[in-house]
Structure formats: C-alpha cells, structure tokens
C-alpha cells in the first residue's frame, strides 16, 4: 500500500539532499571543478567509441552508425544519472556498513534504504554526461529519420524511467555484498566494466550474452530498449518484459535489503 503523504515527504527530503549536496560541494569549489574535469576526461574516453563506430562504418544487425549513436547517447545519459545520483552513495554504503555508521542512520525517521541510496548527490558529475547523451540521441534520432511524435517521445521517456530503476537495482548489488563480505572492490570493478560495456546494441553479441544481459542481469534493457522502441523493433513480449523487469528487480533488491538488515550486526561502534 503506497502512502502518498510518505512519497511526498521523501520527495521533499530528496530536494533537500540536492540542495545540501550542492552547498557542501560549493564549499570546496576547486574539488568540484576538478571532479567535473575528471568526469569530462572519462567522457572523452567513452566518446572514442563514437569515433570507432564512424571510422569503421560499423553496422550491427542492420543498424547504421547514426542509429548506434542513439544507443551510445542513452548510455551517456544513464552514466550521468548513475554518477550524479547513485555512484557516491553506493561507494559510501560499503564503508557505512563496515564502519558501523549504519546504526546511527537507522534511527532517522525516514526509509533507511532511501537515505543510504540518495543522501549524496553530485550534479557536477551528472551534467557533462547527460548533456552529451542528449546531443547524441538527438543527432541519432534526426539522422535516422525517426518521427518526433508524442507516442515515440513519451515511450522513450517511459523507457528512461525503466532504465533509472534498473540502474539502481543492478549497480547497488556490489554494495549490498558489503553486508557479508569485507572487500567488495572487485565486484564493484566488474559492475563498472559491465556498465561501460553496455554502450552498444545487444545484437552485437552472441545469443547467450544477449539472454544473460536481458533476463539475468538486464543491463541491455537500460540502453537498448528506448532506441529499439522508437525504431519500432520491440516485440510485444519484449515490451511486457521491459515493464515487468523494473518491478521484479526492485522487489528483489528490496527483499535482499530487508534480509541483509536482519543479518546486520554493528561492526565497530
């Protein structure tokens, strides 16, 4: 049962998180700017794939380089969302669990999962990726002669929302392992590598990889389904799975979180 007053309260708190995160970043402006510079450097490294696609005139399963640009664009948008909203929180979650600081956070009168997932927001990390992503999507969209109808735009936005939920569910997994493991850095490293690899149409890969990336660790739903929807290449079954997967995975993560909390015993306080 959803209590809308609770949702409203959490949205208000999210606004406060954004405000206070921005205020604390402005206190260390040099760090804030160098952080953006570092993010831009990573962005340029990822843009080398755009160079690769166009220099080799890469066609994947009938998709032209212009269409592939949309997949890359969506990947950039989600990288921005992940870096801006989740990355730092997930990084700190492991330390919070290991250091026992979670005890104090449990006493706060809001959802603990919400608090640890969204308390630090870094819009500086998000902007370069999101802006570049939107530019690439727009260029790819226009070059592929896809009509700008309200159905395609609304559908695309719905798939962006699906992607946000799945980004959260998949990328929090290494941090959740901190409840049981001392060092989860390699698990995090693999999740970053998988994330970076998810910038191409799934049809590039072997069928087994496509199935794993769609049903077991559904990274492909994040970057592939939006562009495939506007291209009219999603089957009814894929549409149903795209809408069911975020619900299913959020439920799974929520269940694991509750189970992990029952197992948790303060580490060092």
């Amino acid at each position: 049962m959803i209590h809308w007053s609770e949702v409203k309260r959490h949205l208000h708190i999210l606004r406060l998180f954004v405000k206070y995160s921005l205020m604390s970043q402005m206190e260390y402006r040099f760090n804030f700017i160098t952080g953006i510079v570092a993010e831009v450097a990573f962005l340029i490294a990822k843009l080398l794939y755009v160079l690769l696609v166009f220099k080799t005139n890469l066609h994947i399963d009938g998709l032209s380089p212009d269409v592939i640009l949309m997949f890359l664009g969506v990947h950039f948008v989600f990288t921005g969302i992940y870096m801006g909203f989740f990355f730092q929180n997930f990084l700190l979650l492991g330390q919070t669990i290991r250091g026992g600081a979670l005890d104090m956070m449990m006493t706060k009168p809001i959802s603990l999962q919400f608090l640890v997932s969204l308390r630090h927001i870094d819009l500086g990390m998000a902007f370069p990726n999101v802006i570049t992503g939107i530019v690439l999507i727009t260029k790819g969209w226009n070059a592929s002669s896809i009509m700008w109808t309200w159905e395609t735009v609304v559908g695309f936005i719905v798939f962006l929302l699906v992607g946000v939920i799945l980004t959260y569910c998949l990328m929090i997994i290494p941090s959740l392992l901190s409840f049981w493991l001392l060092d989860t850095s390699a698990a995090a490293e693999i999740s970053y590598a998988l994330w970076d690899a998810n910038n191409m149409p799934a049809s590039l890969y072997h069928r087994a990889i496509q199935h794993i990336g769609t049903f077991i660790l559904p990274f492909f739903l994040i970057t592939n389904y939006g562009p495939l929807f506007v291209l009219g290449k999603l089957s009814a079954l894929q549409l149903i799975w795209a809408l069911a997967a975020p619900v299913l995975f959020f439920f799974l993560i929520r269940t694991v979180w509750k189970y992990a909390l029952r197992q948790y015993n303060s580490s060092s306080l």
């Binding site: 080799t56 890469l58 066609h59 060092d183 390699a186 490293e189 693999i190 590598a193 890969y205």
Partner: protein
C-alpha cells in the same frame, strides 16, 4: 648484501599484499577482459563487413590479438601508485625513509614488481593460451627472436611506466589535493599508450606524434611486437629506444624528487 635482503623483503611484501586479496585479483582480471570482449565483437562485425583483409594496417587476427593483449598489458604496466605516493608526501609518510637505511624509490620499485608478480603469472598463462590454443594466433608468426624481444619489451615497459608514475607523483610536493589529477593522467596515459584502441584509429599523424614519446613504448609497441606489426628490422632499435626513455625518465624522476624534497615539510608521519 644487507641492502639486497631488505629489497627482497619489500618485494615479498608486495606479493603478500597482492595475495591477501587474491580473489579480488582474479575478479579484477575478469573486469579487464570485459572491454576486450566488447571490442572483440565490434572488430569481428567490422571485419565481416569489409572486403579488404586489413583495416588500419591490421589483419583480423592481428586486431584480435592486439585487443586481448592490450587489455592484459595495460593491467600489467599501469602502476596506480600515484595516490599512495602523494599520500606519503602529504601525511609525512616519507619521514621514515629519510631516517631508515632504505630508499623510497627502491621501496616503491620492489613493492611494484612484487605486487605485479601475480599479474605476470596470469599474463604468461594468457600468452600461452593465445600461442597454443587461440585460432587467431595460428596465423601470426612467432619466431624465437620476436618472443624474446616481446618479453624484454614488457619488462622495459613496466620500468618506463614505473618511472613515469614516480616522476608524476612528485607533483604532490607542490599541490596539496590532486587525487583527480592522477585519475585523469592515468586515463590519458592509457589511451595515448594504445591501451584502449590501436593508435592507428586516431590517424597516422597522431600515431607519428606519439611515436616520439615514451607512451608509445608502454603498450602499443610491446603488443605490436607480438602481433607482427613492428617489422623485424626495428625490433632491437625499439628495445634500445625503451632503454633510452628509461634513462631519460629516471633523470626526470630523480630531478623532480630532488626539487620536491626541498619543499617537503614532513608534517605528521
């Protein structure tokens, strides 16, 4: 004799440090291969659609060998020690090396090679698999001289990379908080060394410019000794250039640390 023992112990410390997180090590090897897998599928798709047998001067087998080896060699040569060194400078950790009969340079060098021993073993296994199992490698010629120079060039690449990192780390004597700077430099060095893609992708002009810099000899050159892109007549010359760069970078590292120590305050420690 006593000094030799000290450095052997430090080498062992480095190895123990790597062994302490051995599951982490194996998982990090997996993460190193994820981008190589993506590129394997991209290059396979590209070569299938091309009528020419070579692209950017590489045959399909050479490109696949480059993709796999560049991923492994970049893991092997990248030191990632800048953060630890700058932390020692910032927090006064260097103090103990000033009063103990051991050089900080020797400590870092032995620790680096000790830490990389596991990677070297993994590297040998992968090279053996490529040499004897991979169908891609059957088309590549591996005369004994080339294999010997390849092994020597990897050792020299590790030395060049270490000296470059050591020289860059000295910036911490002048600037207080530069963690982002090291993230950016590591990324840029990896790209211009050919750790992501062969340098020919960026154009012949770019490759020519990089070829007069030490980065060229860190990943691109050793890997292409193996693929056969480097002609047999240039093998020994390249090794000599690696040696020259090691001497030059050794001089740069020595001078920068000598100048840096004049500013060292030895706070904390």
């Amino acid at each position: 004799m006593k000094n030799t023992n000290q450095y052997t112990v430090i080498f062992r410390f480095g190895l123990q440090h790597a062994l302490e997180y051995r599951s982490n090590f194996f998982l990090s090897l997996i993460s190193a291969f994820v981008p190589a897998v993506v590129q394997y599928y991209i290059w396979s798709t590209v070569y299938r659609s091309y009528s020419d047998s070579t692209l950017f001067g590489y045959s399909y087998e050479q490109m696949i060998a480059y993709t796999i080896l560049a991923a492994v060699v970049s893991k092997l040569v990248m030191t990632n020690m800048e953060h630890a060194v700058s932390n020692d400078i910032k927090t006064g950790g260097l103090n103990r090396y000033l009063i103990q009969p051991i050089s900080y340079f020797g400590f870092r060098l032995c620790h680096y090679f000790g830490q990389k021993l596991l990677y070297i073993i993994g590297f040998i296994v992968i090279i053996t698999l490529i040499l004897f199992v991979s169908p891609a490698s059957r088309h590549l010629e591996h005369e004994p001289e080339r294999i010997v120079i390849f092994i020597l060039s990897i050792v020299m690449a590790m030395v060049i990379s270490f000296l470059l990192s050591f020289a860059v780390s000295a910036i911490a004597f002048w600037l207080a908080d530069i963690s982002y700077f090291f993230v950016v430099t590591s990324l840029v060095i990896n790209i211009v060394s050919g750790g992501m893609f062969p340098l020919e992708l960026f154009g012949e002009g770019f490759r020519s410019v990089i070829s007069v810099l030490p980065f060229y000899y860190m990943i691109y050159w050793p890997v292409n000794v193996w693929t056969g892109i480097i002609p047999a007549s240039e093998l020994w010359l390249g090794l000599l250039i690696q040696l020259v760069w090691s001497v030059v970078l050794g001089g740069v590292a020595y001078t920068s640390w000598k100048l840096g120590f004049k500013r060292y305050l030895g706070l904390g420690g």
